[in-house]
């Protein structure tokens, strides 16, 4: 068919065979990606005799809530009430996320929309900081924190998260697309910089908020506070669940139940914010 008329616009330059093989490929890799999570979901509902069945099965046959009941019993025996671990993680995540969104947005606005001495240097340093992992600075970080007395408090995890560079970077890139005319007209109406930031810029970057929220959430939800928090009553949910999982083979079922609970929270969050996050990521590109 040499008809140049693209009747169905979506199918321009698409061969059916190519589409078929690409989908086969996608399905295989998709199954690999989903396998461990599917396994965990099933294992969480398996009774003990099914967990240690040979040959092992992927899907549960007689689902029970035994593992969750065991988990509840196990939690009742912990030295620190388990709700305390939950509170710790929720507190760290909540404060960290809110603080980061506020501070990073405030810093991103001038970087995106104003021209002032030092701007290029500052932004270059921020981009450079995306290029190395946090482990590089772990030791001096500990020293800095002990100087200002953050060790063994929630703040040892929260305060560095405020200054997470990726959040600032994404926020700044997203803010650049706010039309200058909008800010100019606000200025003519007599609004000062702080009001422009709070009443014009912030409402316009809501998709980016969600992105920063989910990135920070991911970072803080999974933190075990290892190395910075020593008091048992300040430790996080992730630390507590690690202790359960480290029980090894005897805790295989309970471990899966914990995994299921731990991962369901960020995944749910992502499901509800996916389209906003994609919108933010569209501006993430690095220009020269």
């Amino acid at each position: 068919m040499r008809l140049a008329l693209p009747l169905r616009k979506k199918r321009v330059n698409r061969s059916a065979m190519g589409t078929f093989w690409l989908f086969v490929f996608l399905a295989i890799v998709g199954a690999f990606m989903a396998l461990p999570l599917v396994y965990a979901i099933n294992a969480a509902f398996k009774p003990l005799d099914e967990i240690f069945l040979f040959p092992p099965t992927l899907f549960v046959r007689h689902p029970t809530f035994d593992n969750f009941i065991d988990l509840k019993t196990l939690l009742g025996q912990s030295w620190v009430p388990f709700t305390r671990y939950i509170f710790n993680t929720v507190f760290i995540t909540g404060v960290g996320v809110v603080g980061h969104v506020l501070l990073a947005s405030a810093a991103a606005y001038p970087l995106a929309k104003h021209r002032f001495p030092g701007k290029t240097v500052i932004f270059t340093i921020v981009v450079l900081s995306l290029m190395f992992a946090v482990q590089v600075t772990a030791i001096p970080n500990y020293m800095v924190m002990s100087w200002i007395g953050l060790i063994d408090t929630y703040w040892a995890v929260i305060v560095p998260a405020f200054a997470f560079p990726l959040g600032l970077y994404l926020m700044k890139q997203f803010m650049e697309q706010i039309p200058d005319a909008l800010l100019e007209s606000a200025k003519i109406d007599g609004a000062n910089e702080y009001r422009i930031f709070w009443q014009i810029v912030m409402p316009n970057v809501k998709p980016a908020w969600l992105t920063l929220i989910i990135l920070l959430f991911q970072l803080l939800w999974g933190t075990d506070g290892n190395g910075f928090i020593y008091s048992e009553q300040l430790k996080t949910l992730h630390y507590a669940s690690n202790q359960i999982i480290l029980g090894g083979i005897a805790r295989a079922g309970v471990g899966s139940a914990v995994a299921l609970i731990l991962m369901s929270v960020p995944i749910t969050l992502f499901v509800f914010s996916q389209s906003r996050i994609i919108e933010t990521m569209a501006t993430s590109g690095m220009k020269d």
Binding site: V29, L111, F132, V136, A163, W221
Partner: protein, 322 residues
């Protein structure tokens, strides 16, 4: 440097001044800074913390790496000794360096390609299906360190999925101690690392693909682009170069920082250091042996490796399509 360009951009403000050149430049600078004081105020809280927890530590690490420091006594300057010991005497570091580079050379490019290829395939789908597939691929990296699930899969007894499956198929007769056998440790960690790697870069690519101007494809079809591969090469890739560069930074940095997966799956230290990486080596000296000077030297090497590779890749990608 950038300050000079800014003054050049605004010759109008300088024109009024009749003072000698040098001092007028400074006066101008000061006036400019004062005019933007609100900008500085807005940035201050973030930048203070950023300086305290990112910039200062990098500099401190560099300085400490030239000292002997055990956290109890005052650091003692010892010149290049830490570095010479690191490269000439520490066999384990060389294993760690080899493993890190091996990990990065395999997981870096593969995960980068995977991020792009899957984003590209997914992009052709209907919105509902696209959202679902995005979730399937992104879920592992978002679900908060649940990679211990792989421990259940590669469990060393016959109840582990991998062993059970292979025994039932008759390929092996006895269960394999996957995570305790040197030759299997590295591939398994690479596998898990790849599983975790469709993260921020993947999302950036999905977003980038959606922003490519649709009319370009129609114009391309008229201009004689015959199939999806040509379309990919001539239209899609050049249109999303900024996202490609951003994704490269994210994937590369992650691929050089392998540690958690290694420690959790292979143990710490792993069998015959088969899973030792620069980061686990750093953790060893920094949090167990308290040789902070030596650990800082490791951190500095890691810093140079990461930033150097990233800058090189950025330069390479910038040239694509020119």
């Amino acid at each position: 440097m950038p300050n000079v360009t800014i003054t050049k951009d605004r010759p109008g403000t300088a024109a009024g001044k009749t003072e000698p050149r040098a001092s007028s430049w400074r006066a101008l600078k000061l006036r400019e800074i004062r005019a933007h004081k609100h900008s500085y105020f807005l940035m201050m809280p973030y930048m203070l913390l950023f300086a305290l927890f990112t910039v200062l530590p990098v500099l401190m690490s560099l300085i400490i790496s030239f000292t002997y420091f055990n956290m109890l006594e005052f650091p003692r300057f010892i010149g290049w000794q830490n570095y010479s010991r690191l490269f000439l005497e520490d066999d384990v570091f060389l294993i760690a360096l080899k493993n890190t580079i091996l990990f990065a050379a395999i997981t870096g490019p593969i995960s980068y390609l995977a991020c792009f290829v899957f984003a590209w395939i997914i992009n052709d789908m209907r919105p509902k299906l696209r959202a679902f597939m995005t979730l399937v691929f992104y879920a592992p990296s978002i679900s908060g360190n649940v990679f211990f699930l792989w421990q259940l899969i590669f469990s060393g007894d016959r109840y582990g999925i991998a062993n059970g499956f292979l025994i039932k198929m008759g390929i092996i007769l006895e269960p394999i101690l996957w995570l305790k056998t040197e030759q299997y440790i590295l591939p398994i960690i690479i596998l898990v690392q790849l599983w975790l790697s469709l993260g921020t870069g993947f999302l950036a690519f999905i977003a980038g693909l959606q922003t490519v101007d649709k009319t370009l494809y129609e114009a391309g079809a008229v201009d004689g682009i015959k199939n999806r591969w040509q379309e990919l090469w001539f239209i899609t890739l050049p249109s999303m170069k900024p996202q490609l560069m951003f994704g490269a930074v994210i994937q590369l940095t992650a691929s050089l920082a392998v540690a958690d997966v290694s420690i959790f799956l292979a143990g710490f230290p792993s069998v015959n250091y088969a899973a030792e990486t620069i980061v686990t080596h750093l953790i060893d000296f920094g949090t167990i042996r308290f040789e902070m000077g030596f650990a800082s030297a490791i951190a500095t090497v890691l810093f140079i490796l990461m930033v150097g590779t990233n800058l090189a890749v950025q330069r390479l990608l910038r040239r694509v399509g020119e």
